[in-house]
């Protein structure tokens, strides 16, 4: 996955993400594609959460998966979650859950509740920094005012290893998160961060908008064989546009 949260020169915020999934979960030799990735694409749907006829949240789902890993509260905030690989992964959380220890919560459910019930960026940031989770992950959050952008690096339990914030006044006008800790270099065999960063700098802050960040996320290898969709979110207007993504060969497997 690759998530971007970006501030333009007027202080407006944009959030976008590629959802990559299906690594090593079956290779379709005939089509040179990952089997599960191709199975997931037809199930992608935007969901407009309504209560009393009013939209209270929006999300991008694989049909049948009720949790939220991409979503927004129009006018308030946007969210995406990327996988974090850690030795202490979700399995420990599942064992604890099965053994009756129910403090930890399931990522998709927590994020959906956080978005639908969100009142503002800061309280949601605090909540997602400390909520007890069963699995690690990177939670990328965007708001509706200048500086409201963050990468929360979560371990399982109530621990956040790091919270990296947007800081446009000192030149940090965008944040990029793939699947590795932002304070370390990504592994040589999967460095999508560098090409995403290069293209963000090529675009420059003056050209920030849905078009620019879609182009960045469509550039190989940020777009790769695992990429199922690109979601574009603009909180102030409540825009959530999702487009299926394909990567015809030659294309990097991840």
């Amino acid at each position: 996955c690759t998530s971007l949260v970006v501030e333009d020169k007027t202080g407006d915020l944009f959030h976008a993400r590629n959802l990559d999934f299906g690594l090593f979960l079956g290779w379709d030799a005939k089509n040179s594609t990952w089997a599960l990735t191709e199975r997931l694409r037809p199930l992608i749907i935007n969901v407009d959460y309504q209560q009393g006829g009013k939209t209270v949240g929006k999300g991008v789902h694989f049909a049948g998966y009720v949790g939220m890993i991409t979503g927004m509260k129009p006018g308030v905030l946007s969210l995406s979650m990327n996988e974090r690989f850690q030795a202490e992964g979700g399995f420990i959380g599942i064992i604890e859950w099965v053994l009756g220890q129910r403090d930890g919560q399931w990522m998709g459910f927590v994020l959906r509740d956080a978005v639908v019930k969100a009142t503002d960026f800061n309280s949601t940031l605090q909540y997602l920094t400390s909520v007890d989770l069963l699995a690690p992950g990177y939670i990328i959050l965007g708001g509706n005012s200048t500086g409201q952008g963050a990468i929360i690096t979560r371990s399982i339990g109530t621990k956040a290893d790091d919270v990296k914030m947007l800081n446009p006044s000192n030149g940090t006008w965008y944040l990029v998160e793939t699947n590795y800790d932002n304070w370390e270099s990504p592994p040589f065999f999967d460095n999508r961060r560098a090409p995403a960063t290069k293209c963000m700098n090529t675009m420059t802050q003056a050209n920030v908008g849905l078009k620019g960040i879609f182009n960045v996320l469509s550039t190989k290898p940020v777009r790769n064989l695992l990429t199922t969709y690109t979601a574009l979110m603009h909180v102030r207007s409540g825009t959530l546009d999702t487009y299926l993504q394909y990567c015809p060969q030659p294309c990097f497997p991840w």
Binding site: Q50, G64, F91, N215, S218
Partner: protein, 120 residues
């Protein structure tokens, strides 16, 4: 470092937007005033076949390592009761999806906790 070399990398795109209209994803309205058991039916029922194919793929993968039938039966037995341990409204929503698609509840739950499982 093949990832850094063409054809696996390319110059920063400037022509990808707007993408083809056919690739734009539609929207389903989830009415939270509806009972949890019913609110997803309008979405998942028409996609039942595709969901079954997806979950079958995952079961086939499980079958590479262990006896698929036994594993799936065990998973169904282990995971189905988990539904009632989830916070509201998720138990009702997951049961509603299982009813609407005919997919065993345990497998619907496996799909919904797959992120936690996959981090293994």
């Amino acid at each position: 470092n093949a990832q850094d070399l063409p054809p696996f990398t390319e110059d920063c795109r400037s022509d990808a937007y707007p993408p083809p209209v056919k690739d734009k994803v539609g929207t389903y309205v989830l009415n939270l005033d509806q009972a949890p058991e019913d609110r997803w039916t309008g979405l998942v029922k028409p996609l039942t076949e595709k969901l079954i194919v997806l979950i079958q793929d995952i079961k086939d993968l499980v079958g590479i390592f262990v006896n698929e039938t036994k594993a799936v039966d065990y998973l169904d037995e282990l995971l189905a009761p988990m539904a009632d341990t989830f916070p509201e409204p998720y138990p009702g929503e997951l049961k509603g999806i299982a009813n609407a698609t005919g997919i065993p509840l345990g497998q619907v739950i496996l799909y919904n906790v797959f992120y936690e499982v996959f981090t293994v």
